[in-house]
Symmetry: D2
Subunit: 268 residues, 4 copies
């Protein structure tokens, strides 16, 4: 779509949210929307006039659907980014008093798409594939882009097309620990991908000794946000590799992440 | 703040979300965030390495905090915008199949701030005050702005400063039915204000025969979105009256609204 | 177990509640328990002494796990039991103002077990099997029991043993419309079974023109409560066919059902 | 009411559950019931016949309304009853693996009511009043009852009559640490009262160094369950001081408590 002011194309990078969307086991029961106020409930033309309202309730884990991870989401040996110890002053039953998602400013930044799937000539990288440093370097060279400090880097694996097939989606490709480390070295503000967990799910990194090594590196060691479950198909199909990236995490005070609807705005 | 690309100032228009924020009675129990996965839960350096995760659950009504109303939120004698009858094909227990919030595109539009509080020389309009057509016309003249088709109009009453005093906030000022009608005539894409319900709460409009007449007019009759509980103090203090307005409602399929974090970007 | 007063055996008829238990599609996302207050959170021996608390949140549909259906749960052509029309005075977004589950008194009644599975010489009736009037009559004769007015009748299909295999459990046997009608004629206070929906799921009754005919008959036409997902294996194994039945639905004001933990007390 | 089998009077000891009921601050947002499936939603006489369903969702903290505390609810210097250390094997994000509420058997026991309010000649003990050992001893003498091992002791302060006035209710009387210790010495299975927290809220015990000393003593040190927010007015008005007490906590696996509807059955 074009923005209403008439010029730039705006690409919507959020997947639709439904109770059926893919959910990681630790985030069950995922997402639900229930409509309890129905229009008929209060309709009384004599007393209330013609106007009626409907509304519902959202019950969701903050790491479902397209979302951003706050820095408090991960710890490195029970220390948050910046060396903050995880204790009762920082971590409470109602969320974190430091590094919660409300500390992420509205993101209005330069963005680049590294389209690994296209570079490798496939619709979607195979399940379990770990994107390498070479993959990213080749994308940069092929597309004529670089990862700049303060920018946002989106990595396309092609997995977004499997959103409606949760088992296939969850088993998808991811980003290797080395590639996360390479990206972190370039000091982006945030990174993102079109899969559930940025990393390849379930694979323990031999060097770091943990699963989801990119989470440890990016969030807890480098202070770089991760955006997950992006919908990158339209952006890639349009061949748009540089854009203004806008993402505004909700200020859910103390939360470890937020649902988001990022957009890429062309020729800002 | 400045955007990370270096130039434009970005104003954050969202109020922080906490369990204590003001909530309209029909939207109780409002908003809660509960952190159930704590970092210590899984910390096992031998088996799991140094990485741990924390995360929680969000339980909220979609009309709490800074949010946008979808067109299905209101009916006019049991018809939605465009004359769509409210029946079981359109309204279900899991939300609406037409005019749900997921149908709102990412909003990237021209925005204007009509600062009524400043024009009237007060910090905040008094509780129950209904902004008039004259108020809006004077703001436009004073500020040298006009309401253009497809733009977004934000009306400042000054009420945002009472966010931490729920009783005072909920009893705040609002927009009169005439002012809503005047705005609707200019065909903006969306309107917004710094109060709970756009309209003056609890007042029945004699002509339309209902409370919240702006809701009936804007949503059900004109198809214009309403954004509520905006934080407009910084934007007003900076004297920024024209801006690029960006607001990306979450695609909560079938929902009657969405929490949002709108931003105003200066000198786009 | 024996009651603590020393005499009677007490049989626990509730299935355990977990996030993994079988759930009917219309009752998703079922049941969750999330522990957000952890003991460490507040532990401060200097200030707070040795005592700490932990607690969590329950999110559940009322028709999950072992539960009782209130009369308002079902309508017969939009009329509740007793001919009450379903309108906005009776049905609200916060529940029913008539025939809600809080109107069910504590049930302390004579109970009988009709053990159809044993009578037919099987561990569990086959999936889709519909218990007939003959099945019930034979059980009564074989066991030397009768269905008395005001009593509670529990029908055992053997399906309870599949509780940990949700697909198998949900596809289980049920009670035929004729058997429901036969039971209703005897005017029990409540009936119950060891399956998800009393009736055989998904089968449309040719005469009544609807699925779950027992629900229509028992709740909407006869005013007889239905208890679902009972655990009847221990009771059957002990050969106890007559007992004092105690079941205390929570007074969830306006709700269409309640989770319960019924017990059968022998030789009351 | 009389039980349906004809003889004994059955007293309902549960307060009604509504969104407006008193809630302790640490248990906000308390309790909600939202009806999202309305009867009209699916009514289609041609296709679906006359039967329709309605149902909703319950969102509640387990320590709201009339409820029982599980042993895992309290720790004594991070040890649960029996000396079990609070660690990640015992305490998880989904609840406790030891001493959860599902371990409480159905309670069918001898019960006594110690009616302190009546003994002191008042409708309700004053806010902040702490029931003493003498109060309990006098009640036992006056009423001719004793606290027996394995029995359930209900203490009436008269506070139940303030259920609909949450501020007054929450500020009510409680049981002193000495009285809790005296009761614990008699080894009842469970104790209960008609207030929010058994103990006097907010008062730090000088000897134990913590608030809610009865919680520490009864749950963490003696393994005695506590039942809170009982409705004891009818039972007291009837002068019934000995009864069969039945209380069946839901098997919410891992939870720290359960809503309950206890009953007192006279002349069992």
């Amino acid at each position: 779509m074009r923005d209403s002011a008439g010029g730039a194309r705006v690409f919507d990078l959020e997947q639709p949210r439904t109770a059926e969307m893919p959910v990681y086991p630790s985030h069950r029961p995922g997402y639900s929307y229930l409509l309890h106020r129905h229009h008929e409930d209060e309709y009384d033309p004599e007393e209330g006039g013609p106007r009626t309202s409907a509304s519902g309730v959202i019950i969701c884990m903050e790491h479902t659907g397209t979302h951003i991870d706050a820095l408090c989401h991960q710890s490195d040996a029970l220390r948050l980014y910046g060396g903050i110890p995880v204790d009762g002053r920082v971590q409470t039953s109602r969320g974190f008093t430091r590094l919660g998602v409300e500390e992420i400013p509205p993101i209005v930044a330069r963005g680049v798409l590294l389209d690994v799937a296209s570079a490798r000539g496939v619709d979607c990288l195979e399940p379990g594939y770990a994107v390498t440093v070479s993959d990213l370097e080749e994308c940069c060279a092929r597309q004529g882009v670089a990862v700049e400090p303060g920018s946002v880097v989106l990595v396309r694996t092609g997995n977004a097309r499997h959103w409606n097939d949760p088992d296939r989606y969850l088993a998808g490709p991811g980003i290797s620990a080395d590639a996360s480390r390479w990206l972190a070295g370039a000091r982006p503000l945030a990174v993102g991908a079109d899969n559930m967990a940025w990393d390849v799910p379930g694979v323990k990194d031999p060097e770091l000794g943990c699963t989801l090594p990119g989470h440890l590196l990016l969030l807890a060691r480098y202070g770089i946000y991760i955006i997950e479950n992006l919908m990158l198909e339209e952006l890639a199909a349009a061949g748009v590799h540089r854009f203004r990236f806008v993402c505004t995490p909700l200020k859910l005070v103390g939360a470890t992440g937020s649902p988001v609807r990022p957009v890429a705005v062309e020729s800002w």
